[in-house]
Subunit: 220 residues, 2 copies
């Protein structure tokens, strides 16, 4: 799918909330679950999308809105897997907003998708307060970032529907207190579902994918 | 040192640039090199400060301004090492600004410090355009974040005086193209000094510390 540049400096005529509602309306009649995927840079957002798609196989179809400051490295990666994807480049902006998503949403095959993943800018702070019209908010946290991140960056965890603790395959090589990470998340947000996965070797992906399928059924 | 809460919602009467200049003036007569340390969450800012201090031993004295959204985990870590430190909590703000730094700067022992490290909020986007009055800007990048980050987050690398590629001890366990990371940095910012280090085992810390000492002499 062609790269689309969003004119981010164009005056946004409506507020973010209104665009988020419009995105919700566009998706409401489509039997699609829309996931706002947030994390630090390099926590594994794209790899999680790839492995989730592999796990779903022919059961569910996914499409992706790919946010980056610059370039289309991840768009090219996902296109290789045959995933429909549109790229947004924010240049220097630190999160996606609902206007940007609105500009590209209908470029995706909305009648042939079960899940839309919006891969936000890698940033554990700014995307937190900016709804995009998503159904669920998911934060990915790689254990290679250490075991103190929920306590240090509580805001983004507070409103997450799920937290995916990724790169657990690195537990062989490093001393990280995953139980403490879980405790910190629960202290901030007792309702968040927590998954421990390795997007590289597939550990835990079944539970995560089942949760997505459940959320999709709940919405329908 | 006591934790100091900055009233970030207080109306900032002057612009950031003016506070940055004021911070420069405060530090100018002190024979101190001030380093704005920026990275993604969990790239190793605090550990790099600890290992740099160990390396300097009695040769140089360091002090730290510690930025976090919440808590004082890193302040407590650094205090255990006997490092003078003041903590700033930004609550939900995604970067430090020069006003916040101005509010705490003179709480540090400015007559007994050679280096002040300002540990910015973990964020590879927003701290880029916000000068704090520092002498040098340093970006840390952990190889566990993958090998495509400079290309994806070019803005923060563009104005860096140095980039520290950290966690190179993980090269034993994962396939990361460090040469590509270096090429991406050089393409964005040919003048940046690049250091490959492990803040855990001390590899490469000598070159990094020598660079800091050189920068301090250049300023004097």
């Amino acid at each position: 799918m062609a790269k689309k540049k969003i004119p981010i400096k164009e005056k946004v005529r409506k507020g973010n909330e209104e665009y988020a509602k419009e995105n919700c309306r566009i998706l409401a009649g489509k039997d699609i679950l829309c996931i706002n995927l947030m994390s630090s840079p390099g926590a594994g957002k794209t790899t999680l999308i790839e492995v989730t798609r592999e796990f779903f196989g022919d059961d569910y179809r996914i499409a992706v809105i790919e946010g980056d400051l610059a370039g289309n490295i991840d768009e090219k990666r996902l296109m290789k897997s045959g995933i429909p994807v549109v790229q947004i480049n924010t240049v220097s902006m630190c999160h996606l907003n609902a206007y940007m998503v609105n500009e590209v949403l209908e470029d995706l095959p909305l009648d042939d998708a079960d899940f839309i993943f919006i891969e936000n800018i890698g940033n554990l702070v700014c995307p937190a307060g900016v709804p995009l019209g998503e159904d669920v908010r998911v934060v990915i946290l790689a254990i290679t970032e250490g075991d103190d991140k929920p306590a240090k960056y509580p805001v983004i965890f507070h409103d997450a529907d799920a937290v995916v603790i990724n790169k657990i395959d690195f537990l062989r090589f490093m001393d990280v207190d995953v139980a403490s990470i879980e405790e910190q998340i629960k202290a901030i947000n007792p309702d968040a579902s927590i998954f421990k996965v390795s997007a590289i070797n597939g550990d835990g992906i079944g539970e995560w994918a089942d949760w997505l399928a459940m959320k999709k059924k709940e919405k329908a």
